[in-house]
Amino acid sequence: MQTARHRFHEELEWLQTEMVTLADLAERAVSDAFESILHRDAQLADRVIAGDDEVDAHYLEVERRVFDLLARQTPVASDLRLVTAVLHINLHLERVADMGVNIAKIAKVTMGWPSNETVLLHLQEMADVAGTMLRTAIEAFVRRDLKLCRALPRMDDPVDRLNRGMYREVAALASDARMLEWGIHMNVVSRQLERVADHAVDIGEQVAFLLTGVFQEFSDASHPTGEI
């Protein structure tokens, strides 16, 4: 088809490619950060923390170019929905990368402390699912796949369940003060991973809005179905 606004559409293409790049960086930040906890790898944790500058640079460049597009190109219809979706997804991904940094910092603090295998196994499961959800959300964006978007809340259920159970597992470590302190930090890691999964659901909501023009929250925090 003949395109009348060639440069504008090239810019929209760039934004979409940039979302894939940013999602890759954010997902890697979280998985590497968790690896640094599992393998007590301080260097890897440092790399995650240092890598956040690159994430921020992508994030800021996307913000700048979206702002420019809105000012100069006044996008409408699906282009407008794409630009606003990108604006949200960009922020979600930047927050996900920040969570990777938070986990990496905890990895450094807890480096020499005693740990618990069960807690780590559950955290590993959460990290795996959260990573898969993030990839799914971005795949839904790239493929414009509404079904994939709608699969995300269900994928989030085990993450929520494991996060809710985490404080009990940490409380069970109370007999050992050092272990308890480690456990409390791992509870924060659990919370971070749970938030990563929530961001993936939110990205799915944005993609659904892009596809349907109707914004709808997939899950409502004020009316949760499960216990806290």
Binding site: M1, Q2, T3, A4, R5, F8, H9, T74, P75, V76, A77, S78, D79, L80, R81, T212, G213
Partner: protein, 299 residues
Amino acid sequence: MNESGEAMEVDLARGSVEREAGEIGRLIVELPGNHRPSAAESPVVFDVRDLSVWYGPFRAIREVTLPIYQRQITALIGPSGCGKTTMLRCFNRMNDLIPAARVEGTILYHGVDLYEREVDPVEVRRRIGMVFQKPNPFPKSIYENVAFGPKIAGFKGNLDDLVERSLEKAALWDEVKGKLKDSGMTLSGGQQQRLCIARAIAVEPDVILMDEPCSSLDPVATLRIEELMQELVSEYTIVIVTHNMQQAARVSDRTAFLTVDVREDGQRTGILVEYDFTDKIFRNPSDGRTEDYVTGRFG
């Protein structure tokens, strides 16, 4: 114009400005209060059904059906040659002035068929005024430009008051009140266009048709006209043809998208693709062709 919400009689019978019962074309129009009605409440002013317009053997638009709602701004958008100006000109029978033009289908104006034999096109054009692409004031004084129409129509009231009221409604009074005897041609382009709007208002129309009214104006004058439209719509039904999609998005309540349909034999004709609330057209249009046009992927 009745602002109290009482019934107003409309009579389009040939040669008659009297309001007598029993004439062809007489009907009662319920006018709501002086506020912009919500879309759901708004009555239909024009009910266009299967409208086709021919210029000789060439069909300019094909089987267009749509309602135009009272005291709303309806924008007609679409690429060149899609028939939007042709359609606009049907609303006050301006196409009658083109010898080879022929209209099929119906346009009901408050329930009256505009193209009935008994309907007087002059009376139609009094009730349904038009503002053109290029400001076209008469080579007369500012005062005479506004007073001319009412005089012709046999206006018996206070002409000075009518001129002042019309110029005020057109947001021009403050700029010209000290020089009403100056020629209308001495005004700036934007002022001239507002003078033409005042001229249209002076004959107390029901509908104002605007054919790209800002295309020859600078951005500041354009925004003034757009502001003015927002004020006028509380009293008048406005239909605007515009090439400027952002203008349609800014000012209108509803938007009709027309495009050019090319048949296998190469015949080109204008068709209505989509008609909906303007926010729907510019946020999430239903038809892919509308989407392609408003996003610039077509053309």
